[in-house]
C-alpha cells in the first residue's frame, strides 16, 4: 500500500486481488427499500430453495398395472418430439429462495432470480481485507426478495366475486370472515352445517352485537356527548365485533373491526351510500340458506303469531332492533354471502336514512317484505327477537341490550313488516302489529303475549314504546321517561326522537308538549360537553 501525501488531497493505493480457489459462490440478495429490511436486526434466518416448480414428468401416471399401457412412456416421448414440444429443464440453481427470518413468527421472503445480469457485464463484490487489500468476487446470481403476505388473501375467483359486490359491502372483514367460514365448513362439508354455523355465529354475534349499538341517524342526531364518529353514521358496515360492555354506552361504541385495515372502509360508507342500491330478489338458494341459519338461530320459534309478537316486542326496543338487525344483516350478508331484498332494503333504511324517508319507504319495504314472505315464509314467520325496527331511523339515542341473535332481529323486523302490511291490507284486528303501527299502547299487551323465546332478553320491559317501526311516534311522558332513563339527552336530542312527521304534531306543538312533559318529569340535569343533558334515574 503506497501512500502519497498531497497538499489538499490524499490518495491511497490498494492492491486488488481476485481469489482463485474460492469455493463460495456469491449472490446478491436485493430487498425493496420500501420494505424497510434491516438485516442486522435479524436474530436467526433460514433459507432454502423453493422446489414447488418441480414436476416429474416421467412419473405422471399411475405406476401400476391398472390403466397403464405397455410402452406408454416411450410413445409419449416420441409424440412430444414429433411435435417439437420442448419442456424446460428444472435447474435447481434457478429456483427461487424461501427465506424465513426470526423463526416461525417472523417474516418470510421469496427471492426470485433476476435474469440476464451476467450477459453483458459482470458484477463483482469488493471487500476489504484486514491487510488493506481488496478482494473481488464475481457475483453468481441476483435474487430479488419480496416479503410474503402472512394474512389470508383472496384467490382470483373470490376476488372477482367480491369486486362485483363492492358497492354493497364495504367491509373487508366480512369478506374474509365469509371465506374463513366457507373453508371451515368445507371440512364438515355440509350445507346445513354451514347454515347452522352461520346462524350460530350470527347468534353469537348478535349477542355481542347487542352490546354495541349502532345509531342510524348519528348524523341527524348529532348526539353531543357521544363519539359521533363511525358508529352510527356508517351503518352499512357496522361490524361491532368487540363487546364494549356497558349498556349506557351503546350506540356510542366505535365500530371496531378486527382488521385494522378495515377502518378505512368505515369512513367510506355514508348514509346515502345505499340509496341507489339495486336489490335482487334472491333465488331460493339464498333463502334456504338463510332459512336454515335462521331456524337454528331461532331455536324453537313457532310460526307467525310468535313471530309477530316477538316482532312487536322487538319494536319496543328501537335501538337494539335496529342495531341488531343491522349487524345481523351485515353478518347474514357476509356470512351467507347473499342478500335478500328485505335485508338490503332494511339495511338501507336503517343505514341511517332520515326518518322522513322512512315513511315513503314503508310501502316499498312492506312490499319487499311481502316478496320475501312469499319466498321464505318460515324465515319470516320466525319472528326475530328484536329485529322489529328495521325502519327505525329514529331511535338512535336509546340503546338497549338485545342479546338475541341478530338474525332474529332481522327476521322479526321483516315478519313484523309483513304483518303490519298484511294487517293494514287485511284489516284484521287480530294482529297486534297493525295496531301497533298506529298506536303504541297496544305494544304493552303485545309484549306480554310474547315472551322472548328466541333468546332475546330485553332487560327493559317494553313499555309504551314510542316509535313502532313503521310510522307513528307518540310523544308521551312514558316515552320521554324511557329515553331519559336510558341515557342523558339534550332537548335537541329528545326533539329528534319525536320528529314531527312521526308524531303528527307540528314542531311548535312538539316543543310545547315536550316542555310540559319535562316539567312533569323534572329530570336531573348534568352538563356534558357544555350542553345541558337531562336524565332520570329509576
Amino acid at each position: 500500500m503506497a501512500s502519497l501525501g498531497g497538499s489538499s488531497s490524499s490518495s491511497t493505493e490498494y492492491i486488488v486481488r481476485v481469489p482463485k480457489n474460492t469455493s463460495k459462490k456469491y449472490s446478491i440478495m436485493a430487498f425493496n427499500s420500501g420494505d424497510k429490511v434491516n438485516c442486522s436486526s435479524w436474530t436467526q434466518a433460514r433459507m432454502e430453495r423453493d422446489m414447488s416448480n418441480r414436476r416429474m414428468y416421467g412419473v405422471e401416471e399411475t405406476e401400476g398395472a391398472a390403466g397403464s399401457e405397455f410402452g406408454k412412456k416411450q410413445r409419449e416421448e416420441a409424440r412430444r418430439k414429433k411435435f417439437g414440444i420442448v419442456t424446460r429443464e428444472f435447474k435447481v440453481e434457478d429456483q427461487p429462495w424461501i427465506l424465513k427470518v426470526n423463526g416461525k413468527a417472523g417474516k418470510r421472503f421469496k427471492g426470485t432470480k433476476k435474469g440476464g445480469i451476467t450477459e453483458n457485464a459482470s458484477y463483482y463484490i469488493f471487500t476489504q481485507c484486514p491487510d488493506g487489500a481488496f478482494e473481488a468476487f464475481p457475483v453468481n446470481g441476483w435474487y430479488n426478495f419480496v416479503p410474503q403476505a402472512k394474512h389470508r388473501t383472496l384467490t382470483a375467483e373470490e376476488a372477482e366475486e367480491e369486486w362485483g359486490r363492492r358497492n354493497k359491502v364495504v367491509n373487508h372483514f366480512s369478506i374474509m370472515l365469509q371465506r374463513r367460514l366457507r373453508e371451515q365448513e368445507r371440512g364438515p362439508d355440509d350445507d346445513d352445517e354451514e347454515g347452522e354455523k352461520g346462524g350460530k355465529k350470527k347468534k353469537k354475534k348478535g349477542g355481542r352485537g347487542g352490546d354495541l349499538r349502532i345509531h342510524d341517524l348519528e348524523d341527524d342526531l348529532e348526539l353531543s356527548s357521544d363519539e359521533s364518529d363511525s358508529s352510527g353514521g356508517e351503518d352499512g358496515d357496522s361490524k361491532p365485533k368487540k363487546k364494549e360492555g356497558d349498556v349506557k354506552g351503546k350506540g356510542k361504541k366505535k365500530k371496531k373491526k378486527k382488521r385494522g385495515s378495515d377502518s378505512e372502509a368505515n369512513e367510506d360508507s355514508d348514509d346515502g351510500d345505499f340509496e341507489g342500491l339495486e336489490v335482487d330478489y334472491m333465488s331460493d338458494e339464498s333463502s334456504s340458506e338463510e332459512e336454515v341459519g335462521e331456524e337454528k338461530a331461532k331455536s324453537n320459534k313457532e310460526a307467525v303469531p310468535k313471530g309477530i309478537d316477538e316482532a312487536s316486542e322487538s319494536e319496543e326496543e328501537s335501538e337494539e332492533e335496529k342495531q341488531n338487525e343491522e349487524e345481523g344483516k351485515e353478518e347474514e350478508e357476509e356470512e351467507e354471502g347473499k342478500k335478500t331484498p328485505v335485508q338490503t332494503k332494511k339495511k338501507r333504511d336503517s343505514s341511517g336514512e332520515s326518518d322522513t324517508s322512512e315513511d315513503s319507504d314503508i310501502d316499498g319495504e312492506a312490499a319487499s317484505a311481502l316478496f320475501m314472505k312469499k319466498r321464505t315464509p318460515p324465515k319470516r314467520g320466525g319472528g326475530r327477537g328484536s329485529g322489529g325496527s328495521s325502519r327505525t331511523g329514529s331511535r338512535p339515542g336509546t340503546p338497549s341490550i338485545d342479546s338475541a341473535s341478530t338474525s332474529n332481529t332481522l327476521r322479526a323486523a321483516a315478519s313484523k313488516l309483513e304483518q303490519g302490511k298484511r294487517q293494514v291490507v287485511g284489516g284484521s284486528s287480530e294482529s297486534p302489529a297493525a295496531k301497533r303501527l298506529k298506536m303504541e299502547s297496544s305494544s304493552t299487551a303485545v309484549t306480554t303475549q310474547s315472551p322472548a323465546p328466541s333468546g332475546k332478553s330485553t332487560p327493559q320491559p317494553p313499555s309504551g314504546k314510542s316509535t313502532p317501526s313503521s310510522s307513528d311516534v307518540q310523544l308521551t311522558e312514558e316515552a320521554v321517561r324511557r329515553y331519559l332513563i336510558r341515557k342523558p339527552m339534550t332537548t335537541k336530542d329528545l326533539l329528534k326522537k319525536f320528529q314531527t312527521k312521526r308524531t303528527g304534531l307540528s314542531s311548535e306543538q312538539t316543543v310545547n308538549v315536550l316542555a310540559q312533559i319535562l316539567k312533569r318529569l323534572n329530570p336531573e340535569r348534568k352538563n356534558v360537553n357544555d350542553k345541558m343533558h337531562f336524565y332520570l334515574t329509576e
Binding site: 490498494y14 456469491y26 420494505d35 438485516c39 422446489m51 399411475t62 399401457e69 463484490i125
Partner: protein, 260 residues
C-alpha cells in the same frame, strides 16, 4: 397425476449472520466483460491490479489500474495480438438508493452465510483512449460475424447418396430376422401364463407388443387372446387388448395374480 417435488422443508439451511451483525460493508462493482475475462487469467495470489482512491475535499476519486501482465488479450482471436486491454479504469460511484442489497454466499456443502451489506455501488469504466477504441473495434468485428457461412465449392461432394443394392441397415435386419427364425407355437398354457404375467404389469397392450413379449405367431396369439381377453376399439386406449373382466384383479396399483 403429477408428482410435484415438495418444498423440502426439512433441509432448511441456517444462515450464518455474522457478516451483517458486524455490519460488514462491501462494494458492488459493475465490471466490463473483457475486464472480467482478463481477471480470470490472474495467476498466483490472484493479484489483478491496484485500486487508487484520491480524496479531494470531501470527494473521492476511485480508479483501478490493471496489472500489466494481464493486458494481453487472447479471447478475441489472432487479431488481438496488436491490441491490448486498457489499463486505466476510473470508477463511477453510486449510492445504494432504493434498494437494500445484501450479499450471501453458498458453499459447495450448501452452507449459506450472509457476508454483508452493499454500502457502495460502482461502475468500472475503461479510460477512453486509442487503445480502448481499437479493442472495441475488434470486439465488434468478432460479434458481427455470422455464425453460418455459405461457401461456394468447385466440385460437388460425391461421398453421399451412392446407389446401393441393399442398404447396410437393411442387410443387418434381414440377417437378424433369419437368425431368429419363425416363431414357434409354444404350449397353450405356457402362453397363457406369459400373457397373464404380462397383463400384471400393464393393463393395455398392443398386439404387436404382445407378439414381442411372447414371441408367438400372431394368429396363434390372437386365438388365445380371444379366449381370455377383449379388444378395445373405442375409448382412450385405442386398439389394445386387455384381459376379460373376470380375469382382472386390478386394485389401484396392487397386482394380483389373475387366475383362470
Amino acid at each position: 397425476n403429477l408428482i410435484k417435488g415438495s418444498a423440502a422443508m426439512s433441509e432448511k439451511t441456517e444462515v450464518d449472520l455474522t457478516g451483517v451483525k458486524q455490519n460488514t460493508g462491501v462494494w458492488l462493482v459493475k465490471v466490463p466483460k473483457y475486464l472480467a475475462q482478463q481477471w480470470a487469467k490472474a495467476s498466483g495470489k490472484g493479484e489483478i491490479g491496484k485500486l487508487k482512491i484520491v480524496k479531494k475535499q470531501g470527494k473521492a476519486d476511485v480508479s483501478f489500474t490493471l496489472n500489466e501482465d494481464l493486458t494481453s488479450l487472447s479471447a478475441l482471436g489472432e487479431k488481438a495480438a496488436s491490441v491490448r486491454a486498457p489499463r486505466d479504469h476510473p470508477f463511477t460511484m453510486h449510492s445504494v438508493g432504493g434498494q437494500t442489497l445484501a450479499v450471501f454466499t453458498e458453499t459447495s456443502a450448501d452452507k449459506i452465510s450472509l457476508e454483508g451489506m452493499v454500502v457502495q455501488r460502482a461502475e468500472c469504466r475503461p479510460a477512453v483512449n486509442e487503445n480502448y477504441m481499437k479493442l472495441k473495434k475488434l470486439q465488434i468485428e468478432v460479434s458481427t460475424k455470422p455464425q453460418r457461412l455459405t461457401e461456394q465449392m468447385d466440385r460437388a461432394v460425391t461421398n453421399n447418396f451412392k446407389p446401393v443394392s441393399n442398404h447396410v441397415a437393411n442387410v443387418e435386419y434381414e440377417k437378424k430376422k433369419r437368425a431368429e427364425g419363425r416363431m414357434v407355437r409354444a404350449d397353450r398354457q405356457q402362453v397363457m401364463d406369459m400373457l397373464f404375467s404380462a397383463f400384471e404389469k400393464h393393463q393395455y397392450y398392443n398386439i404387436k407388443d404382445l407378439v414381442e413379449v411372447t414371441k408367438q405367431p400372431v394368429t396363434y396369439l390372437k386365438e388365445i387372446l380371444r379366449e381370455i381377453g377383449v379388444y378395445n376399439t373405442k375409448g382412450t386406449h385405442k386398439s389394445t387388448w386387455e384381459l376379460k373382466p373376470e380375469y382382472r384383479h386390478y386394485q389401484g396399483g396392487e397386482e394380483e395374480i389373475k387366475g383362470d
